[in-house]
Amino acid sequence: MKITESNSMKFLVGTLVSALVTYAIGLYGNLPWWSFAISNFIIAILITQTPFKSFLSGALGVGLTWLTLAMIIDQQNHHLLSGKVATILPLNGSYVALIAITAFVGFLIGGLSALAGSYVRKTA
């Protein structure tokens, strides 16, 4: 696969838009927690990329947003709550594992929803 400049630009823009929109709609606590799946789906329709790139850009958009948020919160909280939750869940009390799982959930749903969107416009 040959990566052209416009393609990598698209990828970057797609990822950034996904991240920004994910963060923005997440500020509305009344909306369901999975609202970003819908925005990612739409973004993937509007910013056409290969299914693989759409997936990756949607996955990274949400995954990195969640990763960053969780890491900042956890750092400021001195791992007080993550340590407890990582014992309940059970992750052996590892806040690193808890942050990783948090990011992975965002990554996976973000990616799949973008993938679905990418197939709306894409012809074989």
């Binding site: 963060y23 799946a37 956890d74 909280n77 939750v85 959930v105 996976l108 929803s113 993938l115 197939y119």
Partner: protein
């Protein structure tokens, strides 16, 4: 559009979201909705508070009449300065909600039998128990009474409620407390009824043990026969050191309760076989027998400063979030500081500008069962005073998560609700139809006592305030800056004849009914006694010259009171620090009596070498339950084994679990009568065991366990006892486990496995009050807050915080004052 990949990826997305959007079953518990729970913008991460964050805020609340300034100190204790009383309670409600919302909601759910609604059918047995006991019924009586008769209390509780709801209204969905997210349900509006339900729960916690004990005692008596029962469960406590010193003379009783004719046979000696019960439902664990407390006050004559010192440490279940929340409330009418209940307005245990007060549980029996005869299975009529009387039906609808509603139809009788009937039985009810009569069902102004204590200026105000108190009966200790000290046992106490209500009573006519309540003036009390101190530790309040029956002796722990009084009697030139030392004192006065009694019967040469070693170590023990002590662990295990060896056979063979006799019964017997009849193991037919044999058997048995403990490194007292402060859900990760703390049953520092001094307070009544205190928890109920368990380690170490109780200008200037929350009405 590529249909197939589109469908596949859409399905995968929707499927994954769906799975992460439901509660999954893992064993007996449900996970949270994982996607929601993990979302950093909505889930638990939102509850992870920034360490060092400011609590400064400006809050506009249109329900306020004036403005309120709240200053938070470095321990996150709010100091509320309000223009008027109602505003102060509004803000107290707001702050309780801000820091303890989930706990307030959860505790009232337990009280009102609404756990199944959030946790599913597993909790039905607990819900049914509380519904049938009449918890909601009692709260309704109080609500109705206050609404109709007490405008000041109504306004107080209404203002508090409005404060809680003002917080709820501005609470955004992602900010709801952690536990709601974990258990997947939503906060709901507060109401005055919930405050009354919470107070009902305290009534249950402190008087509801009779709901289990009366059944157990009845079954124990039926099994043993009354004569043996009366010997083993004697109400005679030879070493009693009562709250009101022995020799105090009491006024003649104005009510002379008379035992019904024929009660000796029909009631006391009753021996009947009952059918095996059907539909047995397990009851919640009965309130802890050690729900008690210490309180005392020493007069200026015994202190270094010449001013009284008052101490109070209520012993209750140790939980996170704590039952207590510290607060200062200052308005133009009064200024007070102390521990408050999230769920109720006012300060419950504390002090004000003029005086201090504290409470311990009275332990008096105020709950009885009456045996009912229903005409038929419809339960529409029951036999009473010679004819069939109609019951009324009370319906309680229990909502159950993921399941249909359960409806409890409760027959209401002259006595009260028919708690046990054909539809509801527990392990101890033995198929009987039982109505429950309880002072907790009666309307009470409850919180008014504390409202008035918060404002009391002198002894007369104190008496006026506490005389309103009905249930649960308490020992209210008092000390004032002017030098008065006093203690009074106050509550609605039934004027009982001897042993009335210890067992299930016949309910077919009114002859076994309560014959009246003891007038307030006849309740035990003492003011400024010559010995220079007053105290209580849940022991019997009076000796046998008091003209009313208090209830079965097993409700009154004996030894802690002896220990408190013994120490106070010898102490002089007392300082606040000395009093802290006494509250955390670990001396074991029971072992002081029981160890020599054991030694009387231990035949050291007949023991194995391991057992000899253990006995030696026990005898070298200094009698203090310190955290690192091994001697106490050895003593406890030996004592327990000996008790089991002695009582085991008497109680074996019963269909249901019977009550073990009190420890003092065995100690007294060992000290005076070595041919104690009960020592004989009736299971060995051809042999009469002597107490000596039983004791040595017990020692050998204990030694086996002790050797195991030694191997596991669990023989030191703290590691054996493993004190924990449990989260209300009992989730270990949210609890504090294995705390390094001594103490125990019979010890002034009454810390057991998860029970003990839930708030320690020492108040020196100098001109500017010098007060110390803390509870094993933290001001924030949020497990994600640095203030969640702030005080636990300090508490375990027996240390205290100096409490900041200052007028506004001085508090603002104090270096420990950190934040300012401003409440404005516009």
């Amino acid at each position: 559009m590529r249909i197939l990949p589109f469908i596949a990826s859409t399905l995968a997305t929707v499927g994954l979201i769906s799975v992460l959007n439901i509660q999954l079953k893992t064993g007996k518990t449900l996970t949270p909705k994982l996607g929601y729970f993990l979302s950093p913008q909505q889930g638990f991460w939102k509850n992870a508070e920034k360490v060092g964050a400011s609590f400064d805020a400006n809050i506009v609340a249109k329900d306020l009449k004036g403005n309120v300034d709240v200053y938070m100190d470095d321990r996150l204790v709010p100091h509320i300065y309000a223009d008027n009383d109602e505003d102060a309670y509004f803000v107290q409600g707001y702050l309780h909600a801000k820091f303890r919302l989930w706990q307030m909601d959860f505790q009232t759910r337990v009280a009102s039998g609404r756990l199944s609604e959030i946790a599913g059918a597993d909790k039905l047995t607990i819900d049914r128990f509380f519904r049938r006991l009449g918890m909601v019924y009692g709260a309704e009586q109080t609500e109705k009474y206050i609404n109709e008769n007490n405008p000041v209390m109504k306004a107080t509780v209404d203002a508090y409620t409005a404060g809680v709801n003002a917080y709820l209204k501005q609470l955004s969905p992602e900010e709801i407390p952690f536990e709601y997210k974990l258990m997947n349900y939503q906060p709901e509006e507060w109401s005055p009824k919930k405050t009354y339900l919470f107070l009902m729960f305290m009534s249950y916690d402190l008087t509801g043990r009779a709901a289990a004990a009366d059944l157990q005692l009845t079954n124990t008596r039926d099994f043993l026969g009354y004569d043996l029962f009366d010997k083993l469960y004697t109400n005679q406590q030879d070493s009693l050191d009562p709250i009101i010193p022995k020799g105090t003379s009491f006024a003649e009783a104005s009510i002379k309760p008379t035992k019904p004719v024929g009660a000796d046979l029909a009631y006391l000696k009753k021996k009947e076989t009952t059918d095996e019960a059907q539909n047995i439902s397990s009851s919640p664990e009965a309130p802890d027998k050690n729900n008690g407390s210490n309180n005392w006050a020493v007069a200026g004559s015994k202190t270094k400063s010449g001013r009284p010192i008052l101490c109070s440490d209520p012993h209750l279940g140790l939980n996170l979030p704590s039952l207590w929340y510290e607060v200062q409330i200052t308005t133009p009418t009064h200024s007070t500081y102390g521990a408050s209940f999230p769920g109720s307005p006012a300060v419950i245990i504390g002090f004000n500008d003029s005086l201090a007060w504290g409470v311990t549980n009275a332990g008096r029996d105020v709950l009885d069962y009456y045996d009912l005869k229903f005409k038929d299975s419809t339960q529409k009529e029951y036999w009473f005073n010679g004819s069939w009387q109609a019951t009324t039906n009370r319906q309680e609808v229990i909502k159950v998560k993921d399941s249909a509603d359960v409806v409890e139809n409760i027959a209401m009788t002259h006595w009260g609700p028919a708690m046990f009937d054909a539809h509801y039985q527990n392990e101890q009810s033995m198929g009987r139809n039982l109505a429950v009569k309880w002072t907790g069902h009666n309307a009470s102004t409850g919180v008014e006592t504390f409202y008035k204590l918060n404002r009391a200026k002198n002894y007369d105000d104190y008496i006026g305030a506490i005389n309103l108190w009905k249930c649960p009966g308490q020992n209210f200790v008092f000390a004032s800056k002017t030098g008065d000290i006093a203690i009074k046992q106050q509550g609605s106490f039934v004027a009982r004849w001897d042993r009335q209500g210890d067992f299930i009573m016949p309910g077919e006519d009114s002859s076994y009914d309560w014959q009246g309540f003891i007038p307030n003036e006849e309740n035990p009390m003492i003011k400024n006694p010559e010995r220079g101190f007053v105290s209580s530790a849940n022991q019997k309040s009076v000796d046998s010259t008091y003209p009313y029956y208090l209830g079965t002796a097993s409700s009154f722990p004996l030894y802690r009171g002896i220990s408190v009084n013994k120490h106070l009697a010898t102490m002089n030139q007392i300082t606040a620090e000395d009093m802290q030392g006494l509250q955390t004192n670990n001396y074991n006065v029971f072992a002081e009596v029981a160890r020599p009694a054991l030694n009387k019967f231990i035949d050291i040469n007949a023991l194995s070498s391991d057992a000899q070693k253990m006995v030696k170590e026990m005898n070298n023990w200094d009698l203090y339950n310190h955290e690192n002590s091994k001697g106490i662990t050895i003593f406890k295990l030996i004592w327990d084994s000996v008790e089991n060896a002695v009582w085991g056979d008497e109680l074996a063979g019963a269909k249901v679990k019977l009550t073990k006799p009190e420890a003092y019964v065995l100690v007294d017997q060992m000290n005076k009568d070595s041919n104690f009849i009960v020592a004989d193991d009736i299971r060995t037919k051809n042999k009469v065991e002597t107490l000596k044999e039983q004791v040595n058997l017990g020692v050998e048995h204990a030694t086996k366990k002790l050797l195991e403990l030694e191997k596991e490194n669990k023989i030191t007292w703290a590691s054996f006892k493993a004190t924990s402060v449990n989260h209300l859900t009992k989730i270990p990760a949210l609890s504090r486990l294995n705390l390094p703390i001594g103490g125990g049953v019979n010890i002034i520092n009454a810390t057991t496995e998860n029970h003990g001094p839930s708030w320690r307070m020492v108040v020196h009544l100098t001109d500017e009050i010098e007060a110390y205190g803390l509870y094993p928890g933290g001001q924030s109920g949020n497990p994600g807050s640095p203030y969640y368990d702030t005080f636990v380690d300090y508490w375990a170490a027996g240390k205290y915080y100096r409490l900041l109780f200052l007028p506004k200008a001085k508090l603002i200037a104090n270096e420990r004052t950190k934040w300012h929350i401003q409440f404005k009405n516009a």
